[in-house]
Symmetry: C2
C-alpha cells in the first residue's frame, strides 16, 4: 500500500527546536524536541511527540507534566550535544545547566531559552514507537528577547545531526 | 488552575505553512494549515490539527484522506487570502488554482508548492474545538526546488494575518 516516500517532501517541512523537560520527584531530565506544536487556542494546549525509548518519555508517563523551553538562535552546539545525544540514564544533564523548578515541578531551563511553557498532560496517543502527549498549559514565562532557533537553522547553519529517536529522523 | 498565559511564549514557537486538501468524491477543498508535523518515522506518519468549523474537517472526517503541500517562500499573498480566509462553502477554491488528482483522490496543488504528501487517516483525536488527524503517508512527490515558507516569514515579511480557526490563534 505504501509507496516509496521521497524524503525531500519530509525535509521540506518546518519545525522549531526546543528543550523538553520532565521529572519524577527529584529525578530531573530533559531532551531536544522539534515535534511540539500548539493544537488548540481555547484552552491553550500543546502536543509533544516523544520516542518511547527516551527517559523523558518515562518521566512524563509517570508525572503527567512537562515543560518546554524555546531556544534562542545563539544556542551553542554543545547544548545540542548534551540534550540531544546523551541519555539522562548516563548523565545528569540538569546538573550542567542553570534551571529553576517550575510550578509543575519540572526543571525550567534558564540558559539559551527565550521563554518556557509548562503543561499538564490530559491525553496520551500511542503511536507505536512514539507517544503524543497532549497537555493543558498551566504556566508560561518569558526570559529574553531574541530569535527562535529553527530546526532548519540547526541543520544548515550549525550542521546539526538528527537523533535516530526523533519522529522526523530520516535514514541515510 | 490555569494562570494567565504570556502570549509571547506561544509566538516564540515555530511552524511551517502548508495547504491541506481533502475531498468528498467530486467535492474538493483546501485550506492553509501550520499545525501539521511528522510524528513517527517508521512508518512515516503525519498529524494534522484542524478546526471543526472548517469544511476541510468535514471532508477528512468522511474520506479519511488528506494531502499536504509545502509552500514556497515566493507564494503571493493572494494565495493566503483564498486558502486562509475564504470558506469552501462559499467559493470553489480549487477552480482557481492548478492541481491534479492524487492517488488518495485529494487534489494536489501544483502552484507555489515545493512538494506534496498524501496520507490515509487511521486515528482521530478529539480536542473539543479541533481534531488531530493522524495519517499514514501513502504517496509523496517533489515539484520544485526552493525554500519552504515559514509561519514566521508569513507574519513578518508578508504581514499575514492568522485565522481565528487556527489552533495557534491568539486573541488581540
Amino acid at each position: 500500500m505504501v509507496n516509496k516516500i521521497d524524503s525531500r517532501t519530509l525535509r521540506d517541512m518546518s519545525y522549531g527546536l526546543y528543550i523538553l523537560t520532565s521529572h519524577d520527584k527529584d529525578y530531573l531530565n530533559g531532551q531536544i524536541i522539534n515535534s511540539i506544536i500548539q493544537v488548540t487556542s481555547s484552552p491553550v494546549r500543546l502536543a509533544a511527540t516523544i520516542n518511547k525509548k527516551n527517559l523523558t518519555h518515562e518521566l512524563i508517563s509517570k508525572s503527567k507534566v512537562f515543560a518546554v523551553s524555546t531556544l534562542d538562535n545563539s544556542t551553542p552546539k554543545s547544548f545540542f550535544q548534551l540534550f540531544g545525544f546523551m541519555s539522562g540514564r548516563d548523565v545528569d544533564k540538569l546538573a550542567k545547566v542553570r534551571h529553576k523548578e517550575g510550578i509543575s515541578g519540572c526543571p525550567v531551563i534558564l540558559e539559551n531559552a527565550l521563554s518556557a511553557i509548562e503543561a499538564s498532560v490530559f491525553k496520551e496517543v500511542d503511536l507505536g514507537t512514539h507517544t503524543v502527549f497532549i497537555g493543558n498549559v498551566i504556566a508560561s514565562e518569558v526570559f529574553g528577547k531574541g530569535r527562535s532557533l529553527t530546526y532548519r537553522y540547526y541543520q544548515e547553519a550549525l550542521n546539526g545531526r538528527i537523533s535516530e529517536n526523533a519522529p522526523t529522523y530520516i535514514p541515510a
